[in-house]
């Protein structure tokens, strides 16, 4: 097949992926609303189909361009969406058995891909000399994996904050109804989730009938796991970028906007990890830090390429 045909197939599959994710999103949200297992199965199938289309689209793009398929923002976005959805299906649904976050994840993937095809599309072609290095495989891969896991962590953190607020309201309502136990309180309503022995137990009592989202404690742990998983990968991505910069731009660090923002993102998530280990910052406070980190990640990804002039802003990274 010719390069043009490969490019064509890649583009078509890109669209198939977006529409499958769209269907999956509708399905997941319907599952949240009606709690029917069938809806979840359909949504999952759509997401799986989208993921396959997404993956093949990336591969054919690579065939069309005769190089690794992450040489510019368009390709990077497709890969990011693919890894976020894949990571969600494997880690969140597969390992943690949390089914109710799918809609939000799909929304993120759709947005990423839609923005990419709208604003970043370029016909496949070879790379400019500065990008033509084996470090593109290492540095960009690590950056995509790190960002996709951070993005998942960010989505879960948003849901944690929503669920936490809801649970607190319910606990307040519960407290105003019942006189507080005098001795040997069996229900410690004031303790933060991670200090309560069985975090799920008292909360699930408070949330009976509204189990659409996992408990705040579950979401909190999940967000932490995702971010703790992403952090070393991001660290590695920054280091690999520095090594590459030393080869390509004669210095390992020069406060180029992309470097600066990946550093800012790193610092914020480092702050998050420290906050979780610090009394008084656990729970909501550290969640807000993670959220700021998520925003910083989006700035690192989009704003730096689109609005801030620097070495990374040749229509690539």
């Amino acid at each position: 097949m010719t390069d043009l045909q490969w490019a064509r197939i890649s583009q078509d599959l890109f669209n198939v992926a977006i529409f499958s994710y769209l269907a999956a999103m509708v399905g997941y949200f319907a599952y949240l609303a009606f709690q029917r297992d069938l809806l979840w199965k359909l949504a999952r199938a759509a997401a799986g189909l989208g993921l396959a289309a997404n993956l093949v689209s990336i591969l054919t793009r690579g065939l069309a361009a005769h190089r690794v398929p992450w040489g510019n923002m368009y390709e990077y976005s497709a890969l990011l969406a693919c890894l976020v959805v894949g990571g969600y299906l494997i880690v969140v649904e597969g390992i943690y058995k949390v089914r109710s976050l799918g809609g939000f994840v799909m929304a993120f993937a759709i947005l990423t891909m839609a923005i990419a095809s709208q604003f970043f599309y370029v016909t496949p072609g070879p790379l400019v000399p500065a990008l033509n290095s084996y470090w593109i495989k290492i540095h960009v891969q690590a950056a995509i994996w790190g960002s996709s896991l951070f993005a998942l962590g960010g989505i879960v953190t948003i849901l944690y904050l929503i669920q936490d607020r809801r649970e607190r309201k319910q606990v307040d309502a519960l407290r105003s109804q019942e006189p507080p136990p005098i001795m040997g309180a069996s229900l410690n309503l004031d303790a933060p989730h991670d200090l309560v022995d069985d975090a799920g137990a008292p909360m699930s009592a408070a949330t009976t009938g509204r189990k659409r989202l996992p408990s705040a404690a579950t979401l909190d742990t999940l967000a932490y796991r995702l971010i703790a998983f992403a952090f070393p990968i991001w660290t590695f991505a920054v280091i690999a970028g520095a090594i590459w910069a030393q080869e390509a731009w004669s210095r390992y660090w020069g406060w180029d906007p992309k470097e600066t923002w990946s550093f800012i993102t790193w610092v914020i998530f480092a702050g998050y990890l420290h906050a979780r280990a610090t009394a008084g910052w656990r729970g909501r406070k550290s969640a807000w830090i993670a959220l700021v980190g998520f925003v910083s990640l989006l700035i690192t990804y989009y704003a730096v390429n689109l609005w801030i002039v620097g070495l990374h802003s040749y229509k690539g990274f």
Partner: protein
């Protein structure tokens, strides 16, 4: 307890500052401040990255621009407040690390501590075994060691019926390694940048450039502790090649160079291209840019007034025009004649592209040399601008202008191009050849290996710090009839939910191990599981 103002001695205030710096809260706030400072640095144009954008910004922002200038906001990463935050952060880091390292050192060397009441732990089981207490505890020890626990028998008393076990010291050790590595990183950065330098070498094909201060093009950036120890290494540019796609997108630039030692002997030949710097004698040499140098010879009759490979620079392209569609500029100064003479030249390296450009009135990139053409203006008078690249014509008069093609000669008095082969008399300029020049960035940073080592240590420390978890287990056996009753207690500091299953498996393994030596009967079957959940 806040001391009263009167009793607030120097030692007390130092102690207070120290205590504040030691707290994680302070470190956290400093870390977020550092991020905030970096944000400003990315939103406001920075002098070291793009001076022209700083000037533009200042011109457009009047008073605000002046304020930012005073605040050092145009060089955030070199400003006193950025340095202050960094220094405070590192002081705070050391203040946190020293006591933590000492404690960890002690803890790692110390034997695990015995517990008085094992049944008070979150995870607790009792099993009845046929073996006697010492044998049962010995079997437990072997199981725990197999599970990578550090095990200690009851100290002092020599009690063979109790033990304490611990694992997961790697978490704290890793965390310490991660944090200490930043000190190493800082040292590497300061050492490397402090003793290093960076500058540009412009080398024309066929020429040799020698690493010495005077030979650098423009300013060189030197570190604070730079000793002026240039190497004397030579770079001889044999040839330069550039490669473009049809669209004008650059594909590859290569400088084919010979690297020479200070005596001029060949060390080795090498290609320098983007992403593939040359490394020699502590210097890194990078392909940065390239351009054209016109070989020009000015004669007065038989006398050669000057012959040089004139390095030409490209005019900046207006927006929307490809950079390579612009002509190349330079000025040739002849001071030995009266009145002095300056020849302004403008090079069009590709006359086909130029013709196309004139025909279509559209900018066409001139990527290769093909029948190059130079258009020139001759000025006579007094040269007042000492710079080799710029010209001040205040005291000069234009006497002629014209064009000269590659390999041809022009009469500078009339501005007419002479027919090839015709003997030239009077004042002439010939353009025998067009060569490439290559712009190479030459840097030295001896801190790079240290920084790299620090980065590797950071990663190595990070993994156990995030992914291992500490566990403690205690075992005690009491004689019970023929056999004994074994109490097993456990406690996890991280990943508590996972320890539930881990602990169960551990107890089963201990049970099995003792089983191998005799039969076992469970004393408190069922009730132990409830106990686990209720604590």
């Amino acid at each position: 307890m806040p001391p009263s103002a009167a009793g607030f001695s120097l030692t007390q205030s130092v102690a207070l500052v120290w205590r504040t710096l030691r707290s994680m809260r302070t470190a956290l706030i400093l870390l977020l401040l550092l991020a905030l400072a970096a944000v400003t640095g990315s939103l406001i144009p920075q002098w070291p990255n793009s001076p022209e954008r700083v000037l533009q910004y200042q011109a457009g922002h009047g008073l605000w621009g002046a304020f930012l200038q005073r605040a050092g906001a145009f060089d955030v990463f070199g400003s006193w407040w950025f340095v202050l935050i960094t220094v405070l952060l590192f002081v705070s880091l050391v203040a946190c690390l020293v006591p933590r390292t000492r404690a960890t050192w002690r803890a790692v060397r110390q034997r695990p501590i015995q517990a008085r009441e094992i049944d008070a732990f979150r995870h607790y089981r009792t099993i009845a075994v046929a073996a006697g207490p010492p044998e049962a505890v010995e079997a437990s020890r072997r199981v725990l060691v197999r599970h990578l626990y550090r095990v200690a028998r009851a100290e002092g008393t020599g009690d063979p019926t109790a033990l304490a076990a611990e694992k997961g010291a790697a978490r704290e050790v890793g965390s310490l390694l991660f944090h200490w590595a930043f000190i190493l990183l800082l040292f590497g950065v300061i050492f490397g940048k402090g003793t290093g330098f960076s500058g540009y070498a412009v080398v024309t094909e066929g020429h040799t450039w020698v690493d010495a201060r005077a030979n650098y093009d423009g300013q060189i950036r030197t570190g604070r502790f730079f000793g002026g120890d240039f190497t004397g290494v030579g770079i001889h540019l044999r040839s330069f090649e550039s490669d473009f796609r049809d669209t004008g997108q650059p594909m590859d630039f290569v400088s084919h160079v010979d690297l020479l030692d200070p005596q001029g002997n060949l060390i080795r030949s090498q290609d320098i291209r983007v992403n593939h710097p040359a490394k020699i004698d502590g210097l890194n040499i990078y392909q940065t840019a390239f351009g054209w140098a016109g070989v020009l010879e000015v004669r007065d009759g038989d006398q050669v007034l000057t012959r040089q490979d004139l390095v030409l620079s490209r005019e900046p392209a207006p927006t929307g025009v490809p950079a390579f569609a612009m002509p190349w500029h330079g000025v040739l100064k002849v001071t030995s004649v009266r009145p002095q003479m300056a020849i302004e030249v403008e090079l069009y390296p590709d006359s086909r592209a130029l013709a196309q450009q004139l025909q279509t009135q559209q900018p066409v990139p001139m990527l290769v040399a093909y029948d190059p053409v130079i258009s020139y203006k001759v000025w006579r008078g007094r040269l007042t601008d000492p710079s080799p690249t710029s010209l001040d014509t205040t005291f000069m008069k234009k006497t002629a202008e014209g064009v000269v093609g590659g390999g041809l000669t022009a009469d500078l008095r009339t501005g007419k191009q002479l027919d090839p082969g015709r003997a030239a008399g009077g004042l002439t300029m010939s353009f025998p050849d067009l060569r490439h020049y290559s712009v190479l960035q030459v840097t030295r940073d001896r801190g790079v290996p240290i920084v790299l080592a620090a980065a590797i240590l950071i990663l190595l420390g990070l993994l156990p710090a995030l992914y291992t978890s500490r566990r403690k287990v205690w075992v005690r056996a009491e004689a019970h009839g023929e056999g004994s009753v074994l109490q097993v207690g456990g406690f996890a500091l991280q990943r508590k939910p996972q320890f539930e299953a881990e602990f169960d498996k551990l107890v089963e393994a201990i049970e099995r191990a003792i089983d191998d030596g005799g039969s076992t009967t469970r004393v408190s079957d069922g009730s132990d599981r409830e106990k686990v959940g209720s604590r």
